[in-house]
C-alpha cells in the first residue's frame, strides 16, 4: 500500500540563529529623531570561524545569519556533491539584506554619489541571501527568493513543496531571515508596530518567559527538506504535512472573521485527515499587541471549544520578537519539540502540554492581510 504521507516534507536538518530572549536597547538614527527601542538582537559577531574569512569580509549581517543557519542545517544533514547539484534554495525574507542596502544608500546620499561600494550594491539585492547560500554550499538547483511581508517564509516553504513534489529538486534548503537595523526600528515606530523606549516588565518576563508587548527582533532559520517517501530515516522525522498561505478577504475597515478563520484551519487539517482534536500543541504568530490579541483570542476560543482538551499554545514572537520571517524560528521550535518530545523549559506554554507530542499546528493571521498555517507532525 502506498504511504499516504510520502509527499510530506521531511525535515532532515535544521539550524536556527535565534536572537537573545533578553531585550536590549537598539538606538534609532539620530537624524530620524533618535531614541531607542527595546529589541531581541542576535550577537554582533556572527559566524566568525565558521563562515570562510574571505566571504565573511564581504557579506552583510543578514547574509551571515542565514549562512550560519544553513551551516547548522547542513551539518545535521550533509548533502553529497551529486545531491548538491539537484538541491534548491527557497528563501523567504521581508527586507532582504537591508543593512547593506542602507549603507549603500546612505553613502550615495551623504557623499553625493561619490565612492559607492560595488560589493554593497551586489549584496543589496534580496536574492543575495539565497545566492550566498547556494555559492557557499554548492547548491545548483532552483534558487527562489520570496518576499511578501509576514508570509514570506511560508511562501518559501510552499515553493519548496512544489519543487519536491514535482521532482524539480531532490532536496530543498528552505530559509527564513531578516535583520533588524536602526532604520527598521524607526520604521516600526512610524507604523505603530512598537513603541520607543517602552521599558519591558522584567518581572512579567521572568514569570512567564515571554514578552507581553510587541518588540522588534531578528534571526534566521534553515531547514533541509526532502520528500518523506525518499527520506533515509522514517522514525522520528518531523514532517510538514500541509502548508496554506492566503491573503485574507478583507476590505478596508473590516475585521477578521473568527468563524472564517476556524474554517480555514479545519479545512486545511481535514485535507490531511486531521481534526482539531488530534492537535497536541499550537504555535502562533501572536505578538501580544492589542490588535493581534483581539484577532487571536476569539479564534483560539473557537478552536478550544472543538478540541475539548487542554493543549499548549506558544507564541514565537513573544520569545524572539516581531519580524517578517519569525515563523521560521517558530518552525525551528516545532522541530525541536517534536524531536525531543518535550517543550524546552524556557518556553512556558499557557496550558499543560499532553504527554505525547505528535501534531503541532503553526498558524498566523496578520492584520497586514494574510493568514497561513502548516501542520508539523512526527
Amino acid at each position: 500500500m502506498t504511504d499516504p504521507d510520502r509527499d510530506a516534507l521531511a525535515i532532515l536538518g535544521c539550524g536556527s540563529i535565534r536572537p537573545d530572549r533578553n531585550l536590549e536597547l537598539l538606538p534609532l538614527p539620530a537624524e530620524m529623531g533618535g531614541g531607542a527601542v527595546y529589541a531581541h538582537l542576535c550577537p554582533q559577531s556572527l559566524g566568525k570561524g565558521v563562515i570562510p574569512s574571505g566571504v565573511y569580509r564581504k557579506v552583510g549581517r543578514a547574509q551571515k545569519m542565514v549562512l550560519l543557519a544553513a551551516h547548522k542545517a547542513l551539518e545535521e544533514f550533509p548533502l553529497s556533491p551529486s545531491a548538491q547539484d539537484q538541491s534548491a534554495v527557497c528563501l523567504g525574507t521581508g527586507f532582504g539584506e537591508l543593512g547593506e542596502t542602507l549603507l549603500f544608500l546612505e553613502n550615495l546620499v551623504r557623499l553625493e554619489e561619490r565612492e559607492p561600494k560595488p560589493t554593497r550594491f551586489a549584496n543589496s539585492v534580496h536574492n543575495s541571501l539565497a545566492s550566498q547560500v547556494a555559492i557557499n554550499f554548492g547548491l545548483k538547483g532552483e534558487n527562489h527568493t520570496l518576499t511578501q511581508g509576514p508570509i514570506s517564509f511560508e511562501l518559501a516553504l510552499w515553493q519548496a513543496a512544489v519543487l519536491l513534489q514535482t521532482g524539480r529538486a531532490g532536496h530543498v534548503l528552505v530559509c527564513g531571515v531578516d535583520e533588524l537595523t536602526p532604520f527598521l526600528g524607526f520604521l516600526g515606530v512610524e507604523c505603530g508596530f512598537w513603541g520607543k523606549e517602552d521599558p519591558p516588565d522584567l518581572q512579567e518576563i521572568e514569570r512567564t518567559g515571554h514578552n507581553h508587548r510587541p518588540r522588534p527582533g531578528e534571526g534566521a532559520a534553515a531547514f533541509v527538506l526532502g520528500l518523506r517517501g525518499a527520506a533515509p530515516a522514517k522514525g522520528l522525522l518531523p514532517c510538514v504535512h500541509t502548508i496554506k498561505v492566503q491573503p485574507l478577504e478583507l476590505r478596508q475597515g473590516q475585521i477578521i472573521d473568527p468563524m472564517a478563520e476556524l474554517k480555514f484551519v479545519m479545512d486545511a487539517l481535514a485535507d490531511k485527515g486531521v481534526s482539531l482534536g488530534n492537535l497536541d500543541l499550537i504555535i502562533l504568530g501572536a505578538n501580544c499587541s492589542g490588535q493581534l490579541e483581539t484577532l487571536y483570542q476569539p479564534i483560539l476560543q473557537l478552536i478550544f471549544q472543538d478540541i475539548r482538551k487542554e493543549i499548549g499554545v506558544i507564541s514565537y514572537k513573544t520569545l524572539w520578537g516581531e519580524f517578517s520571517t519569525t515563523p521560521a524560528l517558530g518552525l525551528g521550535l516545532a522541530v525541536d519539540i517534536l524531536r525531543t518530545g518535550k517543550i524546552p523549559p524556557w518556553v512556558i506554554p499557557e496550558k499543560k502540554p499532553p504527554p505525547v507530542l505528535k501534531n503541532i499546528l503553526m498558524y498566523q493571521v496578520s492584520p497586514l492581510g494574510f493568514h497561513s498555517l502548516c501542520l508539523v507532525r512526527i
Binding site: G33, E112, H126, N127, Q148
Partner: protein, 409 residues
C-alpha cells in the same frame, strides 16, 4: 485537469510605450526608448542614457497613492486584466484570482527621497517609507483589482519577472487558483543606477548587446503583466487565447555573486531543461529572446551557451535591451510580451545597437527585424547570484502533436 497554461491577456508599460501595440510598432520602426534621465538628479550618473517611462504613471494607474513601481505595476496589471476580459467575470471568480510579481527595488525611489530630505533638510517624512517593501507593488495592485487569491513577490534580481511567471504557473498546476496575473516591475532608482555604475558596467552611449565594441548595459524601467489560466478555464469563459506557456527552468550557477560562469553553464542547463519540459528539442525553437544586456561577460557567456545548445543551426536570436533598457525585475516579463508579439506578428525583432558582431561570441544575433515562421520562442533571463531562467512560450496548441510534459508526477 489540463496542465496547459494559456496566456489570455497582457499589459505593458515601458520607455517604448504604454501598450503592446505601441511597443511593437516602435520596435519595428527601430526606435530606442533610451534617452536622458529626467526622473531624478544624479550627480554621478545623470549622463547615462536610460529607458525612462515617458509620462506620469501615477496619472494612469488607478491608484490614489503609491510608489512609482506601484503605479507601473498597477497600470500593466489593469491593462492585462481588461485584455483578458476579467472585468466581466463574476465577483466570486474575481476574488479568487491570484497575483505573483517579480521585482527588485519596490518603493526604493521614495525611500531615497526620504533619506535625501533627512540629510539635506533635516526633515523626517515617514510617509515616504510606506511603500518601501519589495512586495508593495503586488499588494497595491491586488487591492486595486480586488484580487484575493494566492499572492507572492519573487525577488531574484534580473530574473524576477520570469520567476514570477513560473511561480504563477506552479500555483495554477497545484490547483490553488484558476486564474493568475503574473509579471514584473521596477522603476529607475538612484540605487540601481549608481550600483551598476559602481560595477563599471553601464555604457555611456547606450547598450550594444553582442557587439564587439559593447561597454555595458543601459538601465530602464517598466512593468509587464500576463494573465495566465488553465486551458479549460480559458475555454470555458471564451477568453482570448494569446499564447501557451510551454516549459520553464531555473538554475543557480553557485559561482559568483555578480559574474556568470565563462561558459554559461547555468543558462545552458536552464534552456535545455525548459525545452525538455516543453517536450521540444532545440530544432523546434523559432526565436530566442536573449538576456543580452550588453556587458562583456554576460553576452559572452550567454552566446557560448546558445551556441552549445543550438550548434550549427541556431534559430533567429536577438536581444531587445536597447529598446527598453534593462528593466531588471520587469525584464523577463516585458521580453515575454515581446515573444508573444513575435508569435502574433510572425516577425522577429532585431538587436538594436548591434553594429559589429563580436567575433568572440559564437552566435550571430539578428541585426534587424525579419519575417519568420514563429511557433515557439525561448526567453532567457539571468541575474545576480548566478540566477539563470529560461521560458518556452508558443502559439496555443504548439505542442499538440508533440509530447508536452506535465512536470507533476
Amino acid at each position: 485537469m489540463s496542465s496547459r497554461i494559456i496566456v489570455t491577456g497582457m499589459g505593458v508599460v515601458s520607455a517604448l510605450g504604454w501598450t503592446p501595440t505601441a511597443i511593437w510598432q516602435a520596435m519595428e520602426a527601430g526606435y530606442s526608448g533610451l534617452g536622458p534621465l529626467t526622473l531624478f538628479a544624479s550627480p554621478r550618473c545623470g549622463h547615462f542614457p536610460v529607458g525612462q517611462v515617458q509620462g506620469d504613471p501615477a496619472q494612469s494607474s488607478g491608484l490614489s497613492r503609491g510608489s512609482r513601481s506601484d503605479h507601473l505595476a498597477a497600470y500593466a496589471a489593469s491593462m492585462a486584466f481588461l485584455d483578458a476580459g476579467l472585468d466581466k467575470v463574476p465577483a466570486t471568480i474575481r476574488k479568487s484570482i491570484g497575483l505573483v510579481l517579480g521585482g527588485t527595488t519596490g518603493g526604493m525611489l521614495d525611500t531615497e527621497s526620504f533619506f535625501l530630505r533627512v540629510v539635506r533638510e533635516g526633515f523626517v517624512e515617514g510617509s515616504l517609507l510606506r511603500h518601501h517593501e519589495c512586495c508593495h507593488p503586488a499588494n497595491a495592485t491586488a487591492e486595486l483589482l480586488g484580487l484575493n487569491g494566492f499572492r507572492a513577490t519573487q525577488s531574484t534580481a534580473c530574473s524576477s519577472g520570469l520567476m514570477a511567471i513560473a511561480t504563477a504557473c506552479d500555483v495554477l498546476k497545484a490547483g490553488e487558483a484558476e486564474i493568475m496575473l503574473a509579471g514584473g516591475v521596477d522603476s529607475l532608482t538612484r540605487l540601481t543606477l549608481n550600483g551598476f555604475a559602481s560595477l563599471l558596467i553601464i555604457a555611456p552611449d547606450g547598450c550594444r548587446p553582442f557587439d564587439a565594441r559593447r561597454t555595458g548595459m543601459s538601465l530602464g524601467e517598466g512593468a509587464a503583466v500576463l494573465v495566465l489560466e488553465r486551458e479549460e478555464t480559458a475555454l470555458a469563459r471564451k477568453a482570448p487565447m494569446l499564447a501557451e506557456i510551454g516549459g520553464f527552468a531555473h538554475t543557480c550557477e553557485a559561482h559568483h555573486p555578480t559574474a556568470p560562469t565563462p561558459d554559461g553553464a547555468g543558462i545552458y542547463q536552464a534552456m535545455a531543461l525548459a525545452l525538455q519540459r516543453a517536450g521540444l528539442t532545440p530544432a523546434d525553437v523559432d526565436y530566442v529572446n536573449a538576456h543580452g544586456t550588453g556587458t562583456i561577460d554576460n553576452d559572452l557567456a550567454e552566446g557560448r551557451a546558445l551556441s552549445r545548445l543550438f550548434g550549427e543551426a541556431p534559430p533567429p536570436i536577438s536581444s531587445t535591451k536597447r529598446f527598453f533598457g534593462h528593466t531588471l525585475g520587469a525584464a523577463g516579463a516585458i521580453e515575454t510580451v515581446v515573444c508573444i508579439l513575435a508569435l502574433q506578428n510572425q516577425r522577429v525583432p532585431g538587436t538594436l545597437g548591434l553594429l559589429h558582431p563580436d567575433p568572440k561570441i559564437p552566435i550571430k544575433p539578428l541585426l534587424a527585424p525579419v519575417s519568420a515562421t514563429v511557433k515557439t520562442a525561448l526567453n532567457n533571463s539571468l541575474g545576480f547570484g548566478g540566477a539563470c531562467s529560461s521560458l518556452v512560450i508558443g502559439q496555443v496548441g504548439f505542442g499538440r502533436n508533440g509530447a508536452v510534459q506535465d512536470d507533476r508526477p
